[in-house]
Symmetry: C2
Subunit: 334 residues, 2 copies
């Protein structure tokens, strides 16, 4: 039997719609907070196969989604390349100075991630698919160059638009590392992959095409050479109408909170599955407000392949019982 999530990625209009949530593991779950409190550093969780696997499985036990996504972070690659990465409580990631000359090949430094994939895959039932992931080169480069999250992202935007040759060299290295990273996740047991381009919306259209779409194309091509059948979900957050161009490349396009599902049905679903796009704030609010919005998304996208998800990650303030209610609703809408 093919898992419902993988059927939708293959282009089938599966009912009820397969369900999972970006950041379904994490801070809003008490069992996660307990585990997090027992370790000093967030990256220790990512690089401990047993802990990463356990955190990946926490929401699977609670909500029975159609897919588990490996618990990890998009900054594992710069860390493995030798740039310092730390996570400060309430401040997000803080990276050491960016020095292209000192970046190293990744080598075996991500092996513990693949071990976590193996552990999770062994624990999943025949119904639940396992998603591997990576940050897209543009978004990862943005953190590497800014040294963390930024209000205006001026440095990386200036570099991308003003020094495209130097910036392109970094993107090339990230493309190669990402292909290796994702291919190894597939070899360890990941059945689908998602590429998170959380900051695509910082670029003008020409920049989105050059630094987000083209790397996605190369990563997809490189992966499909090694693993012809592994499906790829692309999530170019903030790309607006350009999200439709990602449907030419990926098996599925994740749409963000601002995207109109009716637009996505017309612009994307004949070429790729659509994943999304309930506003995470509605999951904090819950009740009929959340349920009406979820029903409308399900109704609008029901004619084609659709994977129900949020338009961005679960917020820490989310009551877990709202997730349970949403999960029930999605299962009941046929």
């Amino acid at each position: 039997m093919v898992k419902p999530f993988l059927k939708a990625l293959a282009g089938e209009a599966v009912r009820p719609a397969p369900f999972w949530l970006m950041r379904q593991a994490g801070r809003y779950l008490p069992e996660y907070r307990k585990l997090r409190a027992s370790t000093d550093s967030f990256l220790d969780l990512c690089f401990s196969p047993a802990l990463a696997a356990e955190i990946t499985l926490q929401p699977v036990r609670r909500f029975e989604p159609d897919a588990a996504i490996l618990f990890s972070d998009i900054l594992t690659i710069p860390h493995a390349m030798g740039q310092e990465v730390r996570f400060l409580e309430g401040k997000g990631p803080v990276l050491g100075p960016f020095d292209p000359a000192s970046l190293q090949p990744v080598g075996g430094r991500l092996d513990s991630v693949y071990e976590a994939v193996r552990l999770v895959r062994r624990s999943l039932t025949d119904e639940v698919a396992l998603i591997g992931f990576a940050g897209a080169p543009w978004t990862v480069a943005a953190y590497m160059i800014e040294g963390g999250s930024s209000r205006d992202w001026l440095k990386v935007r200036q570099m991308a638009l003003g020094e495209p040759d130097g910036f392109g060299a970094l993107i090339d290295r990230l493309i190669e590392a990402t292909i290796d990273y994702l291919a190894a996740q597939v070899e360890a047991g990941a059945e689908a992959l998602q590429l998170f381009d959380s900051w695509a919306g910082l670029l003008p259209p020409s920049g989105i095409r050059r630094w987000c779409l083209e790397p996605a194309r190369r990563i997809t091509a490189g992966l499909k050479q090694r693993h012809p059948f592994v499906p790829l979900i692309l999530f170019p957050r903030g790309a607006g109408a350009l999200a439709a161009e990602f449907a030419e490349i990926g098996d599925c396009v994740g749409i963000d909170t601002t995207a109109d599902p009716a637009w996505a049905a017309g612009a994307i679903q004949d070429k790729a599955a659509v994943q999304g796009n309930l506003d995470p704030m509605l999951l904090v609010i819950g009740g009929t407000t959340m349920e009406q919005a979820a029903r409308e998304i399900l109704f609008t996208l029901r004619q084609g392949p659709h994977i129900f998800n949020l338009g961005h990650g679960v917020l820490p303030a989310t009551p877990p019982e709202h997730v349970a209610a949403l999960r029930r609703l999605v299962r009941e809408v046929l």
Copy 2:
């Protein structure tokens, strides 16, 4: 003779395209910084008619744009309603606690803004149009409720989506105040108006329609009742493909940096003029990179009404000579 800027707003494909830039007055100009250093508070500049008029005219003298936009701020309305508003160096606006019960009618508290409009209008040549503006209710409410700029804007999003009745009451008050404010700017000499909805992109599609599009519709209707011929530019930043729906209401839609001009030509230009959308970072970079991008925008939008502008405001790091070069280029492309 009708001013070129107003011709474009009336739907004519004017060549060369009329030119102005959002935040064309401000921190990147040495003459502004000099004037700013002579006053304690940013709001003093906005509320001193002579200073606001002088700042408005600084870029007009330098670059001869086709329009001047009144130097002011979108937070004049909450300030006039009695909520404390201060601007801290490098931190942006900081507002006092939001208390709907203590908000007052605006009364005559914005008269100095209208006086600035009168002063500017008297100083402009027959070629240059004067734009008045206001923040759109959603964006102004966002600052009022968050108490300033925010990383996640959780409070206002939660209120808009979770307590729509209470939030709607605030939006209603802002709609009324905005109509009065913009109508008075027209009576003082503004020849066109722009409504800045800088944070439209924080909302899901249903939220954009309810809290951005519908208020824009009511403000436009209220204004056209008093001033049937004044053209309105709507700028719903981050609205993605939904920007096209604003073309049903406004005479012109400002598109942000992520919008593809080819998409805007098809989706907007048969209903309204398009304004935009060079990435402000390209104006920092300058040179052929900037010029090629500007030419492409001009070329793509040349068949319909187009006002050349940025996709967001001028950045403080912008060299004024790049603005002069851009101005020359736009004048030369026919």
